[in-house]
């Protein structure tokens, strides 16, 4: 409410840089939603996502004295993306990886996307569908998954994603392209899925 509460990122960042933990924790509070969401989407597992998020904030706190950019959120998400990548590598094959078979099994479960009047809310609330989309995402190689997530969920421009992931613009473009291509082929096993979203095209339902 007060100006106190609404301190800008810049202000909090500069306080944090001088070791003000309370200031940094304000930033944590502000961004833990996006950070955790990104980790969860990239890892598909709550516990792993919590670990990655916590580690990401810790790394960020340790690294913040060296942070000189202006976009704290992007910087933080970049750390979270890298942390998720590490966590994925660490846990891979143990509990995170999904196989196409698992996804196709999930396809056998009736998924109600096809309500006659699909509204954005309805669609978003659909847990089964969300689970399918999530596990399909886990089939992608981590780099593609990161690129698709950062572009489609966090609305970053390719250029920003390139800066965040340390890849070239062309690489990001190709990762997004290949990632979505792969997803499209996965979802082709359940044509109604995309059909529903194609139909949404006509309405102005855009999430």
């Amino acid at each position: 409410m007060g100006a106190e509460v609404e301190q800008s990122d810049e202000r909090l960042v500069s306080l944090s840089r001088n070791g003000d933990l309370a200031a940094f924790n304000r930033l944590v509070e502000r961004y833990q939603g996006p950070v955790y969401s990104l980790c969860l989407r990239l890892l598909g597992n709550r516990e792993a996502a919590e670990d990655a998020s916590q580690e990401a904030f810790l790394s960020a706190y340790r690294a913040i004295p060296g942070f000189s950019g202006t976009n704290f959120r992007a910087w933080l998400l970049r750390i979270a993306a890298n942390q998720s990548k590490d966590e994925w590598r660490r846990r891979k094959r143990k509990d995170l990886a999904t196989s196409l078979e698992q996804i196709f099994d999930a396809f056998d479960v009736p998924v109600e996307v096809l309500d006659p009047e699909p509204g954005a809310e309805r669609v978003t609330e659909n847990k089964e569908l969300a689970a399918i989309v999530q596990s399909a995402l886990l089939v992608l190689p981590m780099d593609q998954r990161q690129a698709v997530m950062l572009v489609d969920l966090h609305d970053y421009r390719y250029e920003e994603v390139a800066a965040m992931t340390g890849a070239s613009l062309g690489t990001v473009k190709s990762r997004v392209h290949r990632g979505r291509d792969r997803l499209r082929r996965i979802f082709a096993a359940k044509p109604e899925l995309l059909a529903a979203y194609r139909r949404l095209d006509e309405g102005e339902v855009n999430e």
């Binding site: 955790y36 580690e55 590490d86 660490r90 989309v133 390719y158 979505r180 855009n206």
Partner: protein
Amino acid sequence: MRWFGRAWGHDRWAGNVAAHVDGELAAGEALRFEAHLEGCSACRAAVTEEQALKRLLSGNLGQVPAPRSFAITAAMLERAGRPARGTAGAGVLAMRLAQGVAAVALIGLVSLVVVDRSTNQSGGDSTTAAPMSAESGAAESRAPEPSPVRDSGSSKAAATVVPPYSAGGVQGQSADSPIPQPTAAAPEGSGYAPVQPAGETGSNDLAIVPPGPEDGDGGTNWFRVAEGGLVLVSISALGAYLVARRANRRSSDV
């Protein structure tokens, strides 16, 4: 070249559908793509499909609230001050450790080889001088060295072949040695006792040379065993170092 069914130039654009939908084509390129779309139903369909997919993703993978607070506590920092659990900190530690082990093992290996070689040469015993090349093969370490028996005059019992690399075995039982070699007291004259084994059990005082314990079983080539072991240790430590370094590099680009 596909001239039918798809507009000309289709293939050129197929890879740009995602970028187009994301609004990432440069202005001029975007105009040209749109012009192409006019005449290419396949690309139009691809664009529609891409939009639907994008919507499917963003509609189902929205933001979720954090399940708990990730605020940082002093205790965490204390723990993290030391190399943090599993992350770069531990990675660096692992890297250093592997580096250290590799270095020690390599130094050990080199000195062993040097000592070994010099003793061999000073021994001047052509019959027993084993080829140094053996050191390259860890698998060789136990290889029975079929060094010819040195007939220093005595009966078979007297002819001890001192295997070139024998560095004083630790135990000198002979019986079950897999290496069938004549055993016995060492011949005088064989002057190449490399390292006098600590545990000379010395059943034979004559043995100027041959590592005592060994005289029981001339075969086990302790130099080789040690060298082989060190080669193995160095290789695995180097491997571990490389792996750790790679992992660190990946995780450190934060």
